[in-house]
């Protein structure tokens, strides 16, 4: 392998950010219980790590890699009570993101669905999000969460089933 093989072309990084910033932010934001500033930190950190990573090692599984790193980062943040290397994050700044995302979900039934999803177990919510928001395959979700592929399928199905039941009731 040549020396130059160990860096990412800038536009690859740009394209990766474009492609994954939204689902990563939503994922991290949810795990951090709506701490959008923290989510920004985690996602920024994730991409910075990506830049340092050897493309050859992860190019075949970038999506799973990004979510794994982001997840680890978020769990670290939860442990250390949100302390992060970025000063800006310590200042409480009102972030527009939650309003924006709330604003878009206008339809009533969507609000209702949102509420029902919140009642699912964290595990179920996580796999749903990774599948339907980030577009990861069962295998990638397994890689990110440490579950087995079969387990991923089980949780997803359980989530869908629960939602169907609650929707039928309501």
């Amino acid at each position: 392998m040549t020396e130059s093989g160990s860096t990412w072309p800038a536009e690859t990084i740009n394209a990766l950010v474009d492609r994954y910033e939204r689902p990563l932010l939503a994922y991290a934001g949810r795990m951090l219980g709506g701490d959008w500033q923290g989510a920004q930190d985690a996602v920024q950190e994730t991409f910075l790590r990506l830049c340092r990573e050897d493309p050859a090692k992860i190019e075949s599984r970038v999506a799973a890699w990004l979510f794994s790193v982001c997840r680890t980062r978020v769990i670290d943040m939860q442990r250390t009570n949100h302390s992060t290397p970025f000063d800006s994050s310590q200042i409480a700044v009102a972030d527009k993101s939650p309003e924006v995302s709330e604003a878009v979900i206008k339809a009533e039934d969507r609000d209702q669905l949102y509420g029902l999803v919140e009642k699912l177990t964290n595990r179920q919510q996580e796999v749903l999000r990774l599948r339907l928001q980030a577009g990861l395959s069962y295998r990638e979700i397994a890689e990110v969460t440490g579950l087995t592929i079969g387990n991923v399928g089980f949780h997803l199905h359980a989530a869908v089933r629960n939602l169907r039941d609650s929707l039928a009731v309501s």
Binding site: M1, T2, E3, S4, G5, T7, W8, P9, A10, E11, T12, I13, N14, A15, L16, V17, D18, R19, E21, R22, P23, L25, A26, G29, W36, Q40, V43, Q44, F47, L48, C51, R52, E59, S60, R61, V62, A63, D95, K96, V100, S101, V104, I105, D109, R110, L113, V117, L128, R129, L132, Q133, G135, S137, Y138, G153, L156, H157, V160, R161, R164
Partner: protein, 752 residues
């Protein structure tokens, strides 16, 4: 009753496309035998569809700009010089394994010593040794693949001489006009541009052909995903057909690569504007003021596209940044709105009503503003002719994003709900290979169609060239005489035309349109949208081009305006305006830059122009400088001619008319155009007295001009746009005008 069935997680795995081909087949067999299972699947699918939409809308926030910068900078701190080839493309390259590159490597086997130049430029990546070193195993495979291709090529060569030839010709034709060479790899970054350029020029010196795509053409998706899209294809016969086409395509492409070597040098090395994303927009040069004495005629084709508006909205409201100048096509902004123009009466002679009026120009008090309004006859869904629709869906890896494929599916479901039992729907997908997912099916067989839809999954790379051939073939096979025969291309614009080149693609679309199979384009997702090509082919295909960025937009295009999207009521609609020099000294057409025609084209029925769909409204605005008004805007007078005397005014010039509007159109199935002509008199209407549609359209035009940083924007700023648009909203049942005000407010903030 169905509780025990609900215990089976395979249901969800099936819906989410996680089953292998065999498992899918087995599962579908089970569904056929067990109606409760089918019900459960339908229920579960309903849940996942809703979830999909919810999550798509939920994922809207992006990184703060400063954080994003830090990522890019952090990157460059670590590696100031990026030597790698720039051709990486995400997410394609994620999905693509080494095999993606190996068409290129393969090509080096195909063209040994004689074309080494071409090979070097074609695949710098294979020559830097990195990938070949890294993937020896796959390389071997590619070698075999190359051999295979070789044998196919020999067989196919003789059968497809025109295709091969035309590829070569395209290259020659397209090269000199290539305005945007960087578009090929369409990336925003600066460092590795040169490497990429060589690559671009070597492979496909064809601006809109998306030269990157061929590299990834045979990319393998992630196994599971690729399998899925193929698993979704039940009928073996069309697949076989598609496969043959693949090999033929590859052969043609290989040949193209070879021929390219001699042309490579002609490719301009200049670098055009690069936007910070991968969207590729055609450069538009704004129309200027013309003196009526020098150019009394203004001729252009109508345009009912609206894609530019949704794209600008995406930039302003979602991404919170100003759109690139060339993303703003003013006529598409103005035509996005549904003005209250009166449609023609049922017994009217012409299929549309035309009207024109002149009001004061709000951004320049000395000027006047002429508004030309056309309104196509409306059509109740029940009166709509039968439809034979072939959806050509892009399921390539780049569509694997919540605002793309899921939205495509949702949009299709919406459109299906508008169709009846005698309408037919087929689905062709293109990704690594093209395939018929659903043969032409009555539109009321919703379950069958939905099943086909839901087994789609994004994966692999685009091979649009074959897909579109198959789509047209399917449309021809199910042609409905006197009906709506239309291919609807749904793509993010990553349209690989590797097998044909843009030139022959355009010819194919043109030929099929002549055979009354029209093409509409629905663009999805931001990021790598080849805007100019999509606009071009939809125009030639007698279709419209809409950009679907949300459920709401899908609703507007596919439900509220379904008739307009589907049914063309007049084609090749051209306008020619003759100005009266006694009344008007100069004029400027606002927008329609890429629709301007030569004055001779007006009476030339061979010259293609825009279409009007049922119920479509078209608005065109001219800024007029009245005779006698001086100012900087009036272009300087040229000297009188030495050998000819200047035109004398006719008697009609004294009649007080400012202009005469002439319109030509053909019936949808006609070959000869009809002429409509009427004069327009300026009644000295002030801007305040103009109706709200006129004022609103003016506000939208000004908004567009300001976004384009036009020198003709006059003394209006965004606040004027906001004030007038808010005031002229009218009823605004759809809320679209309120949204426009929101956009203008966002633009005002961003401009500060």
């Amino acid at each position: 009753m169905s509780d025990s069935i609900w215990d089976d997680p395979t249901v969800t795995a099936y819906i989410l496309g996680e089953l292998s081909a065999d498992e899918t087949a087995a599962f579908e067999k089970r569904m056929e035998d067990n109606s409760s299972l089918a019900e459960v699947v339908a229920e579960a699918r309903d849940v996942t569809n809703q979830l999909q939409i919810m999550y798509t809308e939920d994922a809207s926030s992006t990184l703060d700009p400063t954080r994003r910068e830090s990522i890019t900078e952090g990157k460059f701190r670590n590696s100031p010089v990026v030597k790698r080839s720039s051709s990486w493309r995400i997410p394609l390259s994620l999905l693509a394994t080494a095999a993606a590159l190996l068409l290129l490597v393969g090509s080096s086997y195909l063209f040994p010593p004689a074309t080494t130049v071409s090979v070097e430029s074609v695949s710098p990546r294979s020559s830097d040794g990195r990938d070949s070193a890294q993937h020896p195993g796959t390389m071997h495979t590619a070698e075999e693949a190359a051999d295979l291709k070789m044998s196919n090529m020999e067989e196919m060569d003789s059968s497809q001489p025109d295709m091969l030839y035309s590829s070569g010709v395209d290259l020659k034709n397209d090269v000199p006009t290539d305005k945007d060479p960087i578009a090929g790899f369409g990336m925003g970054a600066s460092a590795p541009r040169n490497a990429g350029e060589n690559k671009t020029s070597g492979r496909t010196p064809n601006s809109s052909a998306n030269p990157l795509k061929p590299a990834a053409m045979i990319a393998e998706g992630e196994d599971d995903e690729l399998v899925l899209s193929e698993a979704a294809i039940p009928p073996p016969a069309p697949m076989a057909k598609a496969k043959t086409k693949t090999s033929r395509g590859l052969a043609a492409k290989a040949k193209t690569l070879g021929e390219t070597s001699s042309l490579r040098i002609q490719t301009p090395a200049s670098v055009a504007d690069v936007t910070s994303d991968q969207n590729r927009f055609e450069n538009l040069t704004e129309n200027v003021f013309k003196r009526v004495s020098d150019a009394p005629l203004s001729t252009f084709s109508i345009d009912v596209d609206t894609a530019s508006y949704s794209k600008v909205r995406e930039y302003l409201l979602r991404q919170r940044r100003l759109p690139p100048v060339d993303a703003v096509r003013i006529e598409e902004l103005v035509n996005y709105f549904n003005y209250e123009y009166l449609p023609p009466k049922d017994n009217a002679e012409h299929p549309f009503a035309a009207k024109a009026e002149i009001i004061a120009c709000p951004w320049n008090e000395d000027h006047r503003l002429a508004r030309i309004a056309l309104k196509g006859k409306t059509m109740q869904p029940k009166n709509r002719p039968l439809s034979n629709l072939v959806f050509l869906l892009d399921t390539s890896g780049s569509m694997n994003s919540p605002n793309k494929l899921p939205l495509v599916k949702a949009g299709m479901n919406m459109l299906l709900s508008q169709l009846g039992e005698n309408d037919r729907v087929a689905i062709v997908v293109y990704a690594g290979s093209a395939g018929l997912v659903l043969d032409s099916t009555p539109a009321t067989q919703t379950r069958k169609i939905e099943n086909a839809l839901n087994t789609l999954a994004a994966g692999g790379s685009t091979n649009g060239g074959q897909g579109i051939q198959l789509a047209y073939q399917t449309a021809r096979d199910n042609f409905i005489d006197g009906g709506v025969n239309r291919v609807i291309l749904c793509t993010d614009g990553d349209f690989n035309v590797g097998t044909t080149g843009t030139g022959s693609l355009v010819r194919m679309v043109e030929k099929e349109a002549a055979g009354n199979i029209y093409l509409s384009v629905l663009g999805f997702g931001m990021g790598n949208h080849n805007d100019s090509m999509l606009e071009q082919i939809s125009g030639i295909g007698n279709g419209n081009y809409a950009f679907i960025d949300s459920q709401k937009e899908a609703q507007k295009v596919l439900v509220d305006q379904a008739s307009g999207t589907l049914v063309t009521i007049a084609k090749d609609v051209k306008l020619q305006v003759e100005f009266n020099p006694r009344m008007v000294s100069a004029y400027r057409l606002i927008g329609y830059e890429n629709r301007v025609l030569a004055k001779e084209d007006f009476n030339n029925d061979k010259k293609d122009a825009g279409e009007i769909g049922a119920g479509h409204a078209v608005t065109a605005l001219y800024e007029l400088i009245p005779a006698g008004v001086q100012g900087n805007a009036v272009p300087p007078k040229v000297d009188d001619l030495k050998y000819q005397s200047s035109n004398k005014l006719t008697d009609a010039a004294n009649g007080g008319e400012s202009l005469t509007l002439k319109l030509r159109y053909k019936q949808p199935d006609g070959e000869t155009s009809q002429l409509v002509e009427f004069p327009v008199i300026d009644n000295e209407t002030t801007f305040q007295d103009a109706d709200h549609d006129a004022r609103f359209a003016a506000a939208v035009a000004s908004f567009g001009m300001q976004l384009r940083q036009s020198e003709h924007a006059g003394d209006w700023n965004m606040q004027n746009v906001i004030d007038i648009a808010s005031d002229a909203k009218g009823e605004d049942m759809s809320g679209l005008r309120a949204e426009f005000v929101e956009m203008a407010e966002a633009a005002k903030k961003l401009k500060q």
